[in-house]
């Protein structure tokens, strides 16, 4: 009785979604629930049918698409999606821990140092998703103890507005950003907010020393907060170059018809590995576990790819017209470097850029 009704509901709701603007949920309804997922699903419905997800791993649009897709897969469960920058999400979570009133069920950050610190403080709940063994090898086993898992990955290159900059003139590598011709025309995010920008700044510090940023500051870049803000600035024509250009958000914007292009710097594109973990003492542990399974599922990777981010599953291929991490030269820091280095980078950034 019940499964048939549920399937009808899923079909109906996905048909509705297709008729509406987004058809992304459709593909997933085909995959059947495993017994483990079914068990979690039933338990999740009993504990209130809700889930609160703090995420910094994408822009709001992608995050909402993931949430809606989960809801379509598991009718009766509702996901509260709170998209902020990584440092803001972390700040809220630490506030909740301090007040011993955990509101967040799953934290998806872009600063892997957060996961390390939370685990060290005993703030994460151990859970090894079934799907964690099915992701690409490069994303496996970041925490062998099973407290957090990589649930998405993205790259940072250099973006530019094609109506303002000719392809031949565009920067080819990171040090080209120091050319005085880009004075007043570079948009950056802020490592004090964005985990992506923090890791990016750390990677370039490893590569060229902090001196690179001292010189970059002379070009008077426009400093926003989220890394995605740089894409907005390009679209608006406020800046010509996105010095920290998020590949996913930028290519999605290109698809919408904006005059932008992406450069994968010859000295290396920065790869970000972004983990998620379940908060210890959270109100909806079963929904959280189910959501962890979902984040590492083929269906979730399809949505990520639809929004021009990396896939973490081997079954899903890279988005059309986008390069995948395995096609370009990748640079990235180690987890230890991130944990120790991002707080340093934030401090240096404030000294150099004044904010």
């Amino acid at each position: 009785m019940f499964p048939i009704r549920r399937r009808n509901f899923i079909l109906g709701s996905s048909a509705f979604l297709v008729l509406g603007t987004c058809g992304k949920a459709l593909a997933q309804t085909a995959t059947a629930m495993t017994p483990h997922e079914k068990e979690l699903y039933e338990a999740a419905k009993k504990e209130g049918g809700e889930l609160t997800w703090y995420t910094a791993q994408s822009d709001d649009i992608t995050a909402q698409a993931l949430g809606r897709s989960f809801e379509a897969l598991y009718p009766g469960l509702k996901v509260n999606v709170l998209r902020t920058t990584a440092q803001v999400a972390y700040q809220r979570v630490t506030q909740e821990i301090k007040a011993s009133a955990i509101q967040c069920d799953i934290l998806s950050t872009t600063d892997i140092g957060h996961a390390v610190a939370l685990k060290a403080n005993g703030a994460l709940e151990k859970y090894v998703p079934d799907n964690s063994s099915k992701v690409l090898d490069v994303y496996k086993n970041y925490d062998p103890d099973g407290y957090y898992f990589v649930t998405s990955a993205g790259m940072i290159g250099i973006g530019y507005n094609t109506s303002k900059v000719k392809e031949a003139d565009a920067p080819k590598n990171w040090t080209d950003l120091l050319d005085p011709k880009w004075n007043n025309n570079i948009a950056l995010g802020h490592p004090g907010f964005s985990g992506y920008v923090g890791t990016w700044a750390l990677t370039l510090r490893n590569q060229y020393g902090w001196d690179f940023f001292e010189k970059l500051a002379k070009n008077n870049p426009r400093v926003g907060r989220s890394i995605n803000d740089t894409v907005t600035m390009l679209n608006a024509g406020e800046s010509a170059i996105a010095g920290s250009g998020p590949v996913g958000t930028l290519l999605e914007s290109v698809q919408k018809g904006n005059p932008l292009a992406m450069i994968y710097p010859t000295d290396g594109t920065v790869l970000i590995i972004a983990p998620s973990g379940i908060m210890k003492g959270c109100k909806h542990p079963n929904a959280a576990r189910l959501f962890m399974e979902f984040l590492m599922s083929e269906g979730a990777s399809k949505i990520w790819v639809d929004h021009f981010n990396e896939t973490i599953r081997p079954e899903v291929s890279a988005p059309q017209g986008a390069k995948s991490a395995k096609d370009v030269k990748i640079i990235r820091p180690t987890v230890e470097q991130i944990t120790k280095g991002i707080p340093e980078v934030i401090k240096q950034w404030r000294e150099t850029f004044g904010v």
């Binding site: 509406g20 603007t21 987004c22 609160t52 703090y54 822009d59 709001d60 649009i61 909402q64 949430g67 809606r68 509702k78 996901v79 509260n80 999606v81 709170l82 998209r83 902020t84 920058t85 440092q87 803001v88 972390y90 700040q91 630490t94 506030q95 909740e96 301090k98 007040a99 011993s100 009133a101 509101q103 967040c104 007043n184 025309n185 802020h190 004090g192 907010f193 426009r222 400093v223 926003g224 907060r225 989220s226 995605n228 803000d229 894409v231 907005t232 600035m233 679209n235 608006a236 024509g237 406020e238 800046s239 919408k256 904006n258 934030i346 404030r350 000294e351 850029f353 004044g354 904010v355």
Partner: protein
Amino acid sequence: MTDNSLDLRAVQFSGLAARIRRLDASILLWLALIAVLAFLILNPVLRLIVSSLQETDTGRFTLANYRTAYGSIRHLQSLLNSLELGVGVALLATCFAVPIAWAISRTDMPGKAFVRLMVFAAFVTPPYLGAIGWILLAGPNSGWLNKVWMALTGAGHGVFNIYSMTGLILVIAVTSFPYTFVFTSSALDLVSSEMEDAANILGARTLRTTLRITLPLVTPAIIGGIIISFLEAIALFGAPALIALPARFNVVSTQLWQFFEYPVRVEEAAAYSMPLLAITVLMFWLQRQILGRRGYTSVTGKGGERRMIALGPWRWVMLGYALLVCALSVFLPMLVLLQAAFAKAWGRGFSLDNLTLHNFYYLLFEQTQAKQTILNTFVYSAVTAFAAISLSLAIAYVVSRKLVPWSNVLAFLCVAPFVVPGIVLAIGFYAAYAPPPLALYGTATILILGFTTRFLPIAYTSSAAGLRSINPEMEEAVRILGGSRLLAIRKVLVPLLKKSLAGAWILVFIPATRELSSAIFLVGPNTRVISVMLFDLSEEGNFEVLSALGVILLVVTVAIAAIGSRMIGRDFMLRRNS
């Protein structure tokens, strides 16, 4: 002859009874009010002050927090920046507000109703929304004004740069001048023409009369407006985060935010916010010194006649000035915000194929939190307004009629939250009430309590101003004729104050709908309000969706305020003789 002891006993008895009765009533009242204020204000603020002198882990006494907080040039620079910002905003807002208030209240300037409506529109516009409008208008390369300039002159660069201190001052002044306007215009509405007539008869011309008679009479209101816009400017968080950050300077509020980044350093933040407290105390002390012994009560039970000054051709000049201010604060930002709200990509400009409703569709159907967030905002704001008005009216009455000793302490406590920047207040609240035993984190209660505290000064200022304008003679008349104080309150005070209380409700409700600085630390995932959602969205610079949400906020706020003022038969901006 009366028995001595009996007499003594009777005297003792009646004296004692009277004293007990009076003491009881007034002391109980005092204790009750103090208890509420202690909960709302003293405890959170004292906790901050104490923690500014404590070591983080051990709680031992230390001055290290002050050394760290002030031991950096950047931190000191932020303090100076905030002072510059506050003074700039206060002056600019006064220049905007006072002439318009005067023109509307005392002259025959045309288009008054319209200008008044626009001032109201400026008042409902949250500063961060105004800031977004101005970013779209005066972004150095992409702003509309700069694009127009470049198209007209063929210049390669724009002339306006919103990402600057001047830009920030402008943005905050255009959204905070309505405070000064409301104060000044409601005071001007109470000044009868008799004194101006006297000056005219003695040969003074209009300008001289205005500058020497009319405006001096409303000095308390103007100074009140200056103080409020100064304090508002230095305590704001949203607009500086949007503008100062890209302009690469910090103000106190954005600097404070950094203390709350991981690792949270509440103690340093507390130390760093002390100068703001000191400044406020100083300002209110100054206000007392300036206004101190002079009498400004010009309203009595008798109604004075009020006639409009005929300005002749100058009335068009005044209208032009008023429209200029309206353009800066409402027309221009609203135009670009509306364009963005209905645009696929705002940078593509005003064209039909750029029109879409998708931003609204996204908010209401795809972004599932938006609906709950919108509802939260208005419920919390309405409850806050009721709570703040009830409390402040009780206190204002006790203070103005000096019912209890030390009543000035109550008054001071009521206005104290204004100086505590919203962020700091929220942290105090958070530290005091988020953890057990009260465990209010993530609840609506903590937000409403926080908002009530934050807007108590506005509620108190308007209640007290209302009371001050009512000469106690009228209540005294009731009491002399044998009526009780309660009767006097019921039959004289409340009817006289009904309209100004309703006005005060709107004055609290509106800023509560747009409050960001204290909300940002007190919201949980299920108690989000629009301002916080706007702030989160603004990180990505998603201006189209942001503008759509802003438009929803404005439309609903205006509708509620309109219904409210329709119900009380009074227009938005607290006009008295409508």
